[in-house]
């Protein structure tokens, strides 16, 4: 369960403060697939970064399984990400100096898993890249890189997967394959998936849609309200 209470983000832009995300209350039950949509600059990626603890909100609190992550230190957040959150980026963000296999290995090595090597092999098989295991990111196509990134995100079996426009940098066919992969692994693991996307078709596959414009939710298509009232998406399910 992810809960947001009055979460906002303001940054300094030149001399003026600029609010990227206005105070937002929101809840995502475990196992949900939430699509965050909206035009560029609407605060989607910022929201995702806040959920992953990559960035700290200006106000409000974010609870993951009851723990307020805004109170955690940088290292506490890192540990939380290692255990509970898998992140997939639009630009893949693989470590260029590591092979595909090693990129998948890292999160497990950090958390000290003993079965890291066999599990990394299994994950590579799952994303269909066993034969590319020892290639470097620069030797892989965009689609292949994103599949490695997905394998990496799933390495520690996180209950939450956050994906920031994972198909945004790929051609449509490859994008479709990636999406299929992401959805199938979500189904098989019953994990929470928060997907930021521009793609209306993709968004339509989600259990819930959160539409943002200029940092505010604009289309309460489910049980969504602005600051002041708490809601929970898909509470009735």
């Amino acid at each position: 369960m992810i809960e947001l209470r009055g979460v906002s983000k303001t940054v300094q832009s030149g001399d003026h403060p600029l609010t990227i995300l206005h105070p937002l209350d929101y809840a995502i039950p475990s196992g949900q697939f939430v699509a965050v949509v909206g035009p560029s600059g609407s605060g989607k990626s910022t929201l995702l970064g806040l959920l992953a603890g990559l960035d700290a909100p200006t106000t409000g609190e974010i609870r993951i399984d009851g723990v307020d992550i805004t109170q955690l230190t940088e290292d506490g957040l890192a540990k939380l990400r290692g255990e509970k959150i898998g992140f997939v980026f639009q630009f893949f963000h693989l470590v260029p100096s590591l092979t595909a296999f090693e990129n998948v290995l890292i999160p497990m090595e950090i958390s000290g898993r003993r079965d890291a090597v066999p599990r990394a092999r299994q994950l590579l098989e799952e994303v269909g890249l066993t034969e590319r295991a020892h290639h470097y990111p620069s030797q892989l196509s965009g689609g292949e890189q994103q599949r490695i990134a997905i394998a990496r995100a799933l390495a520690n079996d996180p209950p939450i997967v956050l994906a920031d426009e994972p198909t945004g940098n790929l051609d449509s066919t490859t994008g479709r394959h990636i999406m299929d992969l992401l959805l199938s692994v979500r189904r098989s693991r019953n994990s929470t998936l928060v997907l930021v996307t521009h793609d209306a078709e993709l968004a339509s596959l989600a259990d819930t849609r959160l539409v943002l414009r200029d940092g505010r939710p604009v289309s309460p298509d489910d049980s969504l309200r602005t600051a002041g009232a708490t809601s929970s998406a898909g509470a009735g399910r």
Partner: protein, 851 residues
């Protein structure tokens, strides 16, 4: 294997080529430290192991005068008392020798020994084992160089003093010959019993008399003092007023070991300087490296690693590279030691010890290498803390804390540790502080000069040439490594040019002193009866030149001072004042010489002598020992005590040696009837053959007279100066080498930027040739600035050292200065372009697409 180590190894695998220079820098520094320390440690071990053989006895009693009966009977009492088991006598004297059938002469250090010699150690001859029988009956053993110099062979005869000696062997290795001790000539042995017959022990000869004592060696009782040192101290204390010094081999061992340890520590500072330069390079590379790794760091943080873990990964990487570099340094040091004989000849034979890498040196080298790597990289690595994983989502401007306490505290701790490393390596906190302070000061000055010069060339950014405009802009661009290259290359140039300029000034000054009319030969130990004949002989030989001037000399010690500010009752008190107790060569005359200036008091002139003898003192003694006008000084002149009043102070220009340089001059009177010798400064012929003939004639007629040929001395001085220059040039060369490595490193670290720029320029129509020219000019400008900084520093250094330390007239060396700048510019330009060849090869499209 933990995540940290695995990750560090993977990172090295990916970036070792870019970091290659990092560990080569460290390797060069470590190699110098390990090589220098190993050689000196080997020498020290060898010497201390054989300290007794080196000393040649357990205790040596030594005096500049014939050893008195009181000393002999005290030693004899020790022998009957059982503390001494064997006594042997020896005399050392510097004298001239010549073949019987030629006019050539050579100065030698003659040693006359008895049958028991050597008490310890072995003397080896080229022909095999030494035995005293070889010396008996006017036999002599000589060093091979003397044979070569005089064109003699074993079996030939040699004239020593008035006697003919047969050369019966060639000395290969002699115990007790001090390593690196200053010597007037090559060693020669004769039998102690034959020495009187040579006539060399005439009055006033500069001989050193020795009693070599052997002490029976019972095992030392725990906590008890070594009996040899005890005996030596007792003898020294008892006979302090007889000018006798006794020294045990253990004291010698201690002194040698101390001197060598100091030499080892100071010399290895050379390595440390190179290492610190490497460290500065490491620091700048680490900074760029972290900048380039920002995204990877963010990814690692994003997938769950803590800041501490990421810091550990990169610190482990630095440690591993530092370790590899240090290990490479040890390998290089091993190779250098193996190849050394090719360059300097058989060092092992010269030093009389086997040398090789020593464990202690290797461990020190590895430790210092790793320490420097870590210390210099830790501050730039701290930037890792500020990398936020959110930059993967959005390139925001990092919010820097206003004052980074952690960073500054760490920087302070690093600086303190570096001072600690320098102090550890120098074996002295003071030297460590001076070295660090000096380094910071020089770096700061070079930095300021660099900034000034970079500003000075800025008007060229409006130049017509595209390449020059670009070059000037790039030199001034932030983050382009200009500072570090200026520091490293500038420092190397500074060292090399500085010492070359000094060498030039020194040699020029010596040559000047050997001017047309100045004497170039000194005759010593002339007996009063020989005066006339010798003057006539010299006059006959050098005709037109002025007649030799004979100066009476006596040897004296100050044994007491009763004065206003200082009161020294006995020689023991005088001894407490260090330099005052040494033996002085004194003279008497009624006139002031051309190289003397009256500073204070009144010169006596030609008038009749006063009742109390008068003495004039060199002004240096006044300032050092607080002696004042009117003070009474007691002198021991050949056992006779003379009390004299100080009536004047003179300043003596010791560089003008035509009339000699005397610290102490008496008014004529007290020594008129005392036995004394004369010295003479003579101008010899210019042609070597004529000089040799004159020396041969002199020594032939007056065998006790020693001839010191200043032209030979000048050659020796020149070769010493040249050797020192070579040594410092090697240091400068090492610094320049690390400078070049830093340059290559800096180029390869920032290459990505150049590749990108070149790609854009190519797209806009620039040819490869234009880009190459731009690079060439850019590095040429950088090299010229670095060269100018170094050359100006060198001019300042050589001027200051010449003016204040050596008191020499200073002359600029424009050819050296300008040549140095040009060569530096060319070298830097070439290295820069060669290291950037990739930039020219890259295809623009691929580069732009990758960005």
């Amino acid at each position: 294997m933990s995540f940290v180590v695995r990750m560090a190894l993977r990172e090295i695998r990916a970036s070792w080529q870019r970091l290659l220079f990092f560990f080569v820098c460290i390797a060069v520094g470590v190699a110098s430290i390990v090589a220098i320390r190993s050689v000196i440690q080997s020498v020290r071990e060898g010497l201390t192991r054989e300290a007794r053989a080196m000393t040649g006895a357990d205790v040596v009693v030594r005096s500049d005068r014939p050893i008195g009966d009181n000393v002999r009977s005290a030693v004899e009492k020790e022998r009957t008392g059982g503390r001494v088991s064997l006594v042997s006598e020896a005399i050392e004297i510097a004298t001239m020798v010549r073949p019987t059938n030629a006019t050539m002469t050579r100065m030698v250090e003659l040693r006359a020994v008895q049958a028991a010699y050597p008490l310890y150690g072995t003397m080896t001859l080229r022909e095999g084992q030494y035995s005293h029988a070889l010396l008996q009956g006017h036999g002599t053993l000589v060093r091979p160089e003397l044979l070569a110099q005089l064109n003699l062979r074993v079996g030939d005869d040699l004239l020593i003093g008035t006697q003919r000696f047969q050369i019966r062997g060639v000395i290969d290795k002699e115990p007790g010959r001090n390593l690196g001790a200053f010597s007037l000539g090559s060693r020669l042995f004769i039998d102690f019993a034959d020495l009187p017959s040579t006539g060399l022990l005439s009055f006033g000869s500069r001989a050193s008399y020795e009693l070599l004592l052997q002490v029976p060696h019972p095992p030392l009782a725990p906590g008890r003092r070594d009996v040899t040192t005890l005996l030596a101290r007792e003898l020294s204390d008892t006979f302090v007023n007889d000018f006798v010094r006794a020294r045990s081999y253990r004291q010698n061992e201690g002194r040698m070991s101390e001197n060598l340890t100091r030499a080892e520590n100071y010399l290895s500072l050379v390595g440390l300087v190179v290492l610190i330069l490497g460290g500065i390079g490491v620091s700048s590379v680490t900074r760029v490296f972290v900048q380039q790794k920002v995204r990877s760091i963010a990814i690692l943080k994003c997938v769950g690693s803590t800041t501490k873990q990421v810091l550990s990964v990169y610190l482990a990487q630095v440690l591993l590279l530092g370790m590899a570099g240090s290990a490479l340094g040890v390998v290089i040091a091993g190779g250098v030691l193996m190849l050394l004989p090719l360059f300097v000849g058989d060092l092992a034979a010269l030093l009389q010890v086997e040398y090789g890498l020593t464990m202690a040196a290797v461990i020190q080298g590895l430790a210092v290498g790793m320490l420097v790597s870590v210390l210099f990289s830790v501050v730039p690595l701290l930037e890792i803390r500020n990398v936020k994983p959110s930059l993967l989502l959005r390139q925001d401007i990092p919010s820097m804390p206003r004052f980074d306490w952690v960073k500054w505290s760490v920087a302070l701790a690093v600086a303190a540790s570096l001072v600690g490393v320098a102090a550890w390596q120098a074996g002295s906190l003071a030297v460590g502080l001076v070295l660090s302070g000096g380094f910071v000061a020089i770096a700061f000055v070079l930095h300021l000069a660099g900034i000034a010069l970079v500003r000075a060339v800025q008007p060229l950014r409006h130049a017509r040439s595209f390449a020059l405009r670009q070059a000037v802009l790039r030199v001034a661009r932030p983050g382009n490594q200009t500072r570090i290259i200026l520091l490293a290359v500038g420092l190397g140039t500074f060292f090399i040019l500085g010492v070359r300029a000094l060498q030039g000034n020194l040699l020029r000054d010596f040559a000047l002193q050997m001017g047309e009319d100045s004497p170039d030969m000194f005759l010593m130990d002339i007996q009063p009866a020989q005066r006339q004949g010798l003057t006539a002989l010299v006059d006959g030989e050098n005709g037109a030149d002025p007649a030799p001037k004979l100066i009476p000399v006596l040897r004296a010690r100050i044994v007491g001072v009763r004065g206003r500010d200082v009161n020294l009752e006995s020689f023991e008190d005088v001894r407490g004042r260090g330099g005052l107790s040494r033996e002085f060569t004194i003279t008497y005359r009624s006139n002031l010489e051309a190289n003397e200036k009256l500073i204070d008091g009144k010169w006596w002139g030609d008038g009749p002598a006063t009742e109390i003898p008068e003495v004039s003192i060199e002004v240096g003694l006044r300032s050092r020992f607080q002696i004042q006008l009117g003070d009474e000084m007691r002198f021991d002149v050949l056992g006779r005590i003379v009390t004299a009043r100080v009536t004047s102070f003179r300043q003596v220009d010791f560089r003008d040696f035509r009339a000699g340089g005397f610290m102490i001059v008496f008014r004529p009177g007290p020594f008129d009837t005392a036995p004394h010798t004369f010295i003479a400064a003579v101008r010899g012929a210019k042609e070597p053959a004529a000089r040799a003939r004159m020396q041969g004639l002199l020594v032939g007629s007056y065998p006790n007279v020693s001839v010191i040929d200043l032209r030979e001395v000048l050659d020796t001085v020149a070769s010493v100066v040249n050797n020192v220059t070579l040594a410092v040039t090697v240091v400068g060369g090492l610094v320049l080498l690390s400078g070049s490595l830093i340059l290559i490193g800096a180029v390869s670290m920032t290459k990505f930027r150049r590749v990108y720029e070149a790609a854009i320029l190519k797209t806009l129509g620039a040819s490869s040739r234009l880009i190459a020219t731009t690079l060439l000019v850019e590095y040429g400008v950088l090299g010229a600035i670095a060269g100018t900084v170094g050359a100006l520093g060198a001019v300042a250094l050589s001027w200051a050292v010449a003016r204040y330390a050596l008191d020499l007239p200073w002359e600029a060396s424009p050819v050296l200065t300008v040549g140095g700048i040009v060569v530096t510019a060319i070298v830097v330009a070439l290295i820069g372009v060669l290291a950037s060849l990739d930039v020219l090869r890259h295809k623009p499209l691929a580069t732009l697409r990758a960005e």
